[in-house]
Structures are given as C-alpha cells and as structure tokens.
C-alpha cells in the first residue's frame, strides 16, 4: 500500500470544512418554524347607542401553541384580520344598516395607548352578515406591535363603530366576530 500523503489530506480537510461550514450556515437559518395561529374574538353589544366601542380581551396563554413555546417565540406578527357581523337587532335593521366605518385597535395590558389594527369603511351590514371581510395588517403596525405581542400575551382588541348612516343607531343587540391571524415564529 502506498503511504498516506498528509499534504493531500490537509487539502481534503480544508475543502471538506468549507463545504460543511457552508452547509451549516444554511441549516442554521432553518432552526425556526413559523406557523399561523388564528385567534377568535367575539364582540357583544347590549342596548348601546352608536357611535360607541366594545372590547374583547385576548389571552394568548389560553392557546397551548403560544403557552408551550413562550420562551422560544422569536416573533409574533399580526398578519390578517377577518371581521363579520353575527347578529344585529335595532334601528336600523340588518337590511338597512350601514356604518361609515368600523375600526379595530389593539391595547396591551397595562398600557393606555391604542394601536390601529385596521379600518373597514362603508360597512353595509347585510354584506358583512356571516361573511368574512379580510384586511391585511399594514407592515408598520405589524412590526410596531410584534415585540409587544411576543412579550405581552394579554391584550384588548377594541372595536369602534361610527354612527350609522341612517336610523337612530340604537342597538339592543349587536354581535360581531373577528379572527386575527398571528404569524408565530418559534425556535426549534
């Protein structure tokens, strides 16, 4: 057998190391996993006069995906919001009601500041009745609240209705829902 030539071995080691380091740098970028977590929220009015607001409290700790991975969450970005009306009783009726706008704000526990999540304009209630209407949360807002969502799992989502374009705006019962899709990036 020929003896091993160590100069060649050294060259081999350099090439192999380079290949492995390059491979590792790509693999390192794969050590997180991003999934979408849909949060369901319910807003209920009883005997209220528009314009007014209603609030739903969200506790992400009720979601095992968030709770089990809290220490490993790298980012939590609000992505899309879907809004629909479930019930409306009052003046005007479902058939005739139209709001100039419906806005959604997020307020983290212990803070006063509200961040606008999205705004629906010219909300014709019969079009929104049990039909989802989607908006994408603007990037600047998503980034602004991202860190807060990651570290503060409890927050309020505030729904603000304008005065309806017709009718008295008094509603004995108004129920609406919002699904909020959050992009959770978790370190594996």
């Amino acid at each position: 057998m020929n003896k091993i030539m160590f100069r060649g071995l050294l060259a081999a080691a350099v090439v192999a190391t380079t290949l492995i380091i390059n491979a590792c740098s790509v693999v390192d970028s794969l050590d997180t996993f991003t999934m979408q977590l849909p949060i369901n929220m319910e807003f209920s009015w009883r005997n209220r006069q528009a314009p007014d607001t209603t609030v739903d409290f969200v506790n992400l700790m009720e979601y095992s995906v968030y709770r089990d991975n809290m220490d490993d969450i790298q980012s939590a970005k609000l992505y899309q919001v879907a809004y629909w009306m479930d019930t409306l009783v009052g003046n005007p009726s479902i058939e005739n009601a139209e709001f100039a706008f419906v806005e959604f704000y997020i307020r983290f526990q212990g803070e006063q500041q509200q961040h606008l999540l999205g705004r629906y304009e010219n909300v014709v209630v019969k079009d929104y009745y049990k039909r989802p209407h989607i908006i994408t949360v603007p990037d600047d807002i998503a980034l602004l609240v991202s860190e807060a969502v990651r570290t503060k799992p409890q927050f309020d989502v505030i729904q603000r209705y304008s005065l309806p374009k017709n009718g008295t705006g008094f509603f004995p019962q108004l129920e609406a829902r919002v699904d909020l899709a959050i992009r959770l990036e978790v370190k594996l």
């Binding site: 057998m1 090439v15 970028s29 794969l30 999934m35 095992s64 992009r183």
Partner: protein, 359 residues
C-alpha cells in the same frame, strides 16, 4: 470462517443498527405542529424529501474509467440542490366542511384580492416557500358540525433557494475487475431516537466487454447501481435505488470529464403520533383528523426520478477534486474531494490509481 460466514457476519453488522434504531419509540409531534394533517405534511415536506433523495443519489461516480487494480479511497462530497419555484408551493387540503356553504362561508386574501368560497385545496408554501395565507371561515350555524368550521392557519416556509443534501462521506473500494464499490454509513444520534443512513454504490466499467473505445483507452463507459437505506427509528424508513450509465474521458494531466444519466426512485413512509390534545386549549382545529388526534402518516417520496449529470475531476497525487452538475427535478451542484489511500495488485502496484490508461 468461510466466505459465506464472512458475508453473514457483515450483513449482521450492517443490519444490527437498523434493528436497534427501530426499537425506539415513535416520534411524538408537539402541539405546535398540530396545524399539519397527513395531507398537508406530505405536501409541505415532499420537496425536502426530494432534496434528501437527490443527495443520496449524488456522487455515485466521478469517472467511468476504473483501474484494473485494488484500491481504497475516502470521498467527501457535498451535494447542493437548487430549489425551483414549483417546489415552493403545494395544494393544501381545506377542511371538508368548507365545501358546504350552509356550514361555512370562507375566504382568503392574496395580494390584496379577496377570494370567496374557497374549498377543496388552496396553494400554500412548502418547507422551501414563503408566507402562508390563512383560510378564514365563518360558521353558519351555532351547533353541530358547523361550529368546528373555523379559520385555519398553515405552516410557513423558509424561503430557501438552494439547499445542501446530506454530505456524502463514503469509502471507495476498487477491484481489478474495473469495479468500484462505494459505501456510506451515516449514524446520527438524535435524543431517544436515531437516524441511520446506509448507501451502497456499485459501478462497473463495461466498454471493454463491448469492444468500445478499443483504440482510445482514455475513454470509458460504465454502468452504475446504488441502494440507499434510510431509517429514523420507528418514525420514517425509506429505500432508494438508482441505475444508470455514464461515460468519461481522461487526459494524462489528471483531468477528466464525465457525463451520465440515471434513473432514481425512493419509497418509504413516515409515521408520527401527536401529543395529546389539551382540553383547555382555546384553539380547536377545523380538521377532523387533528381533532381526533390521529397519527400523521405520509409517504416518503421524491419528486425526482431522472437526472442527467456532467462534471469533471482533477487528480494530483493522491487527491482528486471533483465537481459536477445535474439536471433533475431539483438541479444538483456537487463538489468534493477523494483521497486515494492505497492501491495494489492488478497490472501495476507501486502507484496510486491514476486515471486509467489501460484498455
């Protein structure tokens, strides 16, 4: 110990790790992966499995010209797969109830455009893709099956354009019959379970039997076959094979070029159990499979079945550098180095195997 006993002993040594690996508990999928159904897992991971398979099937040969001597070498190669756009998305199955507008009104939004009445399948990213699009759903009834027809989210991709395969670390044994055997053994300890990959590549120069290139010993034609065994204890197992022919031409300077074609396939399965559901969890999936906590099962398949490869190598002393590229479902770029440890017997015995000049 006669020849048959040696073969039996070798087989036992090779197969023992497989038996040990399979005795481990199956993979338990944590709750965060409960967004996967078996169908979506198959679509999401299939391009990644393709990368794995194409990596297995790479670096089976670098020349068709095998010296008629005994030789031993160690090869270290790294195959990289270029991920095409078509491997970055797949058709994800939506919950069954989305198909019935009496149960659910559905919609999604892509690039600012809302699509209503989504049902059946929707395009979502694979492991290599980008951002997923949630499918929003409004239950139309307050009881029965409709109450589960809620919004679903999906797994997002990693936005990968090029991906390394498993490095090919292989022992090469050449025989005087102009035959070359490549052996790969890659054990990867991983917690309670382990991953084991075994690969065997066989290449045989054949042109001398066909009376081809009799007047030009620098050209050669060879056939190749390889077998790949992959086992992730009690979770995934797969068997892959390749078969092909390749041609090479070499020069006295140590340079040689080669080209070849290869059919390849892999088949196997993946099974994982889900972590028990948390009854207090606010998130209840719209997928019945997930609510039932059924295991995730999917085939271990590749999107690739054929490749055309071309490359070159340069040998100086006992070191041979090689580089090749292949057209395949995921185009392959591969580079590596072979360190020829020894050569003996055959027609000459003093020097390590240079690119063969014997007919």
């Amino acid at each position: 110990m006669n020849y048959h006993h040696r073969i039996a002993a070798l087989a036992a040594v090779v197969l023992l790790p497989f038996g040990w690996a399979s005795a481990q508990p199956p993979l338990e999928v944590e709750r965060e992966f409960n967004i996967f159904t078996s169908q979506s897992a198959a679509g999401y991971f299939k391009p990644l499995l393709t990368t794995l398979q194409e990596g297995f099937a790479s670096n089976i040969y670098h020349t068709a010209n095998y010296a008629p001597k005994w030789s031993i070498g160690l090869d270290l190669s790294s195959p990289w797969m270029v991920i095409p756009e078509s491997h970055k998305t797949f058709s994800a199955q939506l919950p069954d109830c989305y198909s019935d507008p009496r149960l659910a009104q559905t919609a999604d939004m892509r690039s600012g455009t809302t699509t209503r009445g989504i049902k059946g399948t929707v395009v979502q990213p694979t492991y290599y893709g980008t951002i997923a699009t949630p499918a929003f759903s409004v239950p139309q009834q307050g009881s029965g099956e409709a109450v589960f027809c809620k919004t679903v989210g999906f797994a997002e991709g990693h936005d990968v354009g090029i991906m390394p395969g498993l490095p090919n670390i292989q022992l090469i044994v050449g025989a005087p019959t102009r035959t070359e055997l490549r052996i790969r053994v890659v054990p990867v300890p991983e917690g309670e379970r382990s991953i084991l990959y075994l690969g065997f590549g066989l290449a045989q120069q054949v042109n001398q039997w066909m009376k081809l290139f009799t007047d030009d010993p620098t050209m050669a034609l060879a056939a190749s076959f390889s077998l790949h065994l992959f086992d992730w204890s009690s979770t995934a197992s797969a068997t892959g094979i390749t078969a092909g022919v390749h041609y090479s031409k070499s020069w006295g300077s140590g340079l040689s070029v080669m080209g070849g074609t290869q059919f390849e396939t892999i088949s196997g399965d993946f099974t994982a159990v889900r972590e028990p559901l948390d009854p207090s969890d606010a998130q209840v999936s719209a997928y019945e499979e997930i609510r039932r906590n059924d295991p995730i099962t999917m085939p271990f398949e590749s999107l690739n079945s054929f490749r055309v490869v071309a490359g070159g190598s340069y040998r100086t002393s006992v070191v041979e550098f090689h580089l090749d590229a292949a057209v395949a479902a995921q185009p392959v770029l591969s580079a590596g180095i072979t360190f020829w440890l020894a050569q003996w017997g055959g027609e000459t015995s003093a020097t390590p195997p240079t690119p063969s000049t014997e007919p």
